[in-house]
């Protein structure tokens, strides 16, 4: 049984003991560290963690330093999920054989970016979920290969200017819609998948704690606003995140056992998608006359998705 942390307010939360040290090399304003701290602070249980190659990894374990006060492993770009799955299998084996040094059950969590989850690590995650390891995979979804300088991934939204899908004289940038990973992972029969955002920290903690309580592979897609690649000022991370959740570009919801969808956050005042786009350099070109139709299409897509989510919630499917 997991030991869930009781958190009364943000002050208490932000000052609670860290297993992820503030001493790291992430950019000022990077949402990764906020998300990681929220995950690690959601439980008092021991943790076995992994990170896929990416910003989080290169910024937190540069020899001879480490930012992790919990056991942590990095192997490669694509296989962080399987690293944790292997450790989880070892825990099970040693527990059965009575050879655990401490008779405690840690939480197994893999962190990976959207590139390492939606693209190159997709098969490994799918394998872990199909096999039903008792673990949580957390995507730090900044919608781009940020660690290598802003190449598009299959999470990059349409119209975004990425370095391998740049906006140019005759192009509006990325041409494909963002892959719906939550639906794919829910279709694996995962007991719990959720989309969360660090600005809605109570909502996020609730989702993480629920994920820790259920047995089996849990998938968390956490929006991670990227000051460097989304191109906004480092002090605006939470403001941009608020625009994402309140415009419903990034709706917060969960799917239980692959079959019951709940919307977990309903903004009181829905802001236009245009405001979200206008606040970031990666969408700047969309405001030229020739591409303004794309902003309209964005709004329509967001409205349609929100409508779809509401209908599913209402029908309890």
């Amino acid at each position: 049984m997991s030991e869930i942390k009781k958190i009364k307010n943000l002050k208490e939360f932000s000052t609670s003991a860290d297993r992820f040290e503030g001493a790291n090399l992430l950019c000022p304003g990077c949402a990764h560290s906020i998300i990681v701290r929220e995950v690690l602070n959601a439980t008092n249980d021991d943790m076995i963690l992994s990170a896929a190659t990416g910003c989080l990894e290169v910024c937190t374990a540069v020899y001879p330093y480490t930012s992790w006060d919990a056991s942590w492993i990095h192997i490669g770009f694509e296989n962080g999920s399987t690293a944790v799955a292997g450790a989880e299998a070892m825990h099970k084996a040693l527990k059965n054989k009575g050879r655990l040094k401490q008779d405690r059950d840690p939480k197994f969590v893999s962190f990976a970016g959207d590139g390492a989850s939606y693209d190159i690590g997709f098969q490994w995650i799918s394998g872990c979920f199909e096999r039903g390891h008792d673990m949580m995979h957390v995507v730090l979804d900044n919608e781009v290969y940020a660690n290598t300088g802003g190449q598009r991934s299959s999470s990059t939204p349409i119209g975004s200017s990425a370095t391998t899908s740049p906006a140019g004289r005759i192009s509006y940038g990325e041409k494909q819609n963002k892959k719906d990973m939550l639906a794919i992972m829910a279709a694996h029969g995962s007991p719990y998948v959720a989309q969360v955002a660090p600005n809605k920290w109570k909502n996020m903690i609730k989702a993480i704690q629920h994920g820790f309580e259920v047995e089996g592979p849990v998938f968390i897609n956490a929006m991670s606003a990227c000051t460097t690649e989304w191109k906004f000022a480092p002090e605006d991370t939470i403001a941009i995140s608020d625009l994402a959740t309140d415009s419903l570009v990034f709706p917060l919801y969960e799917i239980i056992n692959g079959e019951k969808l709940n919307i977990t956050y309903r903004p009181k005042n829905v802001v236009p998608v245009e405001e979200y786009l206008a606040a970031q350099g990666r969408f700047k070109h969309l405001f030229k006359d020739q591409y303004k139709y794309l902003i309209k299409e964005w709004q329509e897509r967001v409205d349609q998705k929100w409508d779809y989510l509401q209908r599913r919630e209402e029908a309890s499917v």
Partner: protein
């Protein structure tokens, strides 16, 4: 949890795959993460059946690819327990990234590699292309020539790999089909004796020691990467061979079966020698004996430990030989063969006056026949008599069409 010992006859008739699977069972592995591929599949199947019948207590994770198999092994080994798996050929190639990662992270893992050709063209039969692909990966590589050796070397591999001075992963190679699917008599250990030899797993830097968190798989750039790689190389060059010898000695004491870092057959008075690996060693041994009836003092050198490379032992084994043939069972694709180069590298600064020639043979499972070796030994004798290589330095044996020879 159900976990029964298995009663074995003193001598069982096993192929190389089943011998390896039995050794894995007896080593009481904590986690096997595996993916099937011809011709190593029966190792994984055999292990699965042991599990299904209650003879294995550990976790068996059937993953979705060989890359994931080794990734899972890495996570499990870092967590702190005994880990092993098996693969061949394309699966081995898919694993390559993780082979470098596991050795660089200094994790003891035993990998049974049932040697098979690499596509294209696709081919399921035995050659040494996959074994050669692994030779710079930082693993220890042991080569079995028979099912008995595949069985024995697994125990030796665990003991060397898991030693705290070594902590490097270890491959046990056997030839696809020729060893893996050819049943022979295998002298067995009881489960207790086998496990007693391998011993309890002693964890080090284990992630599951929850009171002492560890960080595995860090980033190093130009400031520290070289030192890490140099240290790994240093340990392979200085610590591994003495440990292997120590374990070989202990194994001989237990079983009476003697293994050597470099195997020498009829080498005491030999003038000419074939150096090769895998099942070819046995064929060459037979032919060498027959050549002696024809007045050719023929010998055979088998590479038992491919990595770390037995530089000193090779020099010693070949010091008085007049003509040497290096037999490479992998296409060098635009270069002399690996064994040719490595023998040349070992002998170059010695007093050896040996005429060294290279032969590429057996690709994709093509047979190396006794007739091939008879011809080869005759060429070696001619080289020995002339005091130089009379043929091109690189020849192909057994390939159809016009004779291929280079250099």
């Amino acid at each position: 949890m159900a976990f029964d010992k298995m009663e074995l006859r003193d001598i069982e008739v096993w192929d190389g795959n089943f011998a390896a699977a039995q050794a894995m069972r007896q080593a009481q592995i904590d986690v096997v993460a595996a993916y099937p591929i011809t011709p190593s599949t029966p190792i994984v199947e055999g292990y699965a059946k042991f599990l299904a019948d209650g003879y294995v207590e550990g976790e068996f994770v059937m993953v979705e690819s060989e890359h994931a198999a080794m990734s899972g092994c890495i996570g499990a080994a870092a967590a702190g327990g005994r880990v092993a798996t098996a693969t061949s050929s394309q699966g081995f190639a898919l694993m390559v990234e993780t082979l470098y990662q596991s050795s660089g992270m200094r994790l003891p893992i035993v990998l049974n590699v049932v040697n098979r050709a690499l596509a294209a063209p696709l081919n399921v039969n035995g050659d040494h292309s996959d074994m050669y692909l692994g030779r710079d990966s930082g693993w220890i590589q042991l080569d079995a020539y028979s099912p008995q050796e595949a069985y024995d070397l697994n125990f030796i591999a665990f003991k060397v790999s898991e030693d705290h001075d070594v902590r490097l992963p270890c491959m046990v190679h056997q030839d696809g089909f020729m060893t893996s699917h050819t049943a022979q008599g295998v002298k067995t250990f009881t489960d207790d004796v086998a496990y007693g030899f391998v011993g309890e797993y002693k964890p080090m830097n284990d992630m599951l020691d929850l009171d002492h968190p560890v960080t595995h798989g860090v980033q190093t750039e130009e400031d520290w990467h070289f030192e890490h790689k140099a240290r790994q190389h240093n340990d392979l060059m200085t610590k591994v061979m003495p440990k292997i010898q120590e374990v070989f000695d202990a194994f001989e004491e237990l079983s009476g079966r003697k293994y050597n870092i470099v195997e020498k057959y009829d080498m005491d008075d030999a003038d000419v020698a074939v150096v090769c690996m895998g099942t070819s060693v046995e064929t060459a041994r037979e032919v060498a004996k027959e050549m002696r009836a024809d007045g050719i003092k023929a010998g055979v050198v088998g590479i038992r430990v491919l990595r770390p490379y037995p530089f000193a032992e090779i020099i010693e084994a070949l010091k008085d030989i007049k003509a040497i043939a290096a037999l490479d069972r992998s296409s060098p694709n635009g270069a002399p063969g690996m064994l040719f180069n490595e023998l040349a590298g070992a002998l170059f600064n010695t007093d050896s006056k040996a005429a060294l020639s290279g032969y590429v043979y057996g690709l994709g499972g093509r047979d190396l026949t006794k007739a091939h070796l008879v011809d080869l030994y005759k060429e070696l004798q001619a080289n020995a008599d002339a005091g130089k290589v009379l043929t091109p330095l690189q020849q192909f044996i057994g390939v159809r069409g016009p004779k291929l020879a280079y250099l």
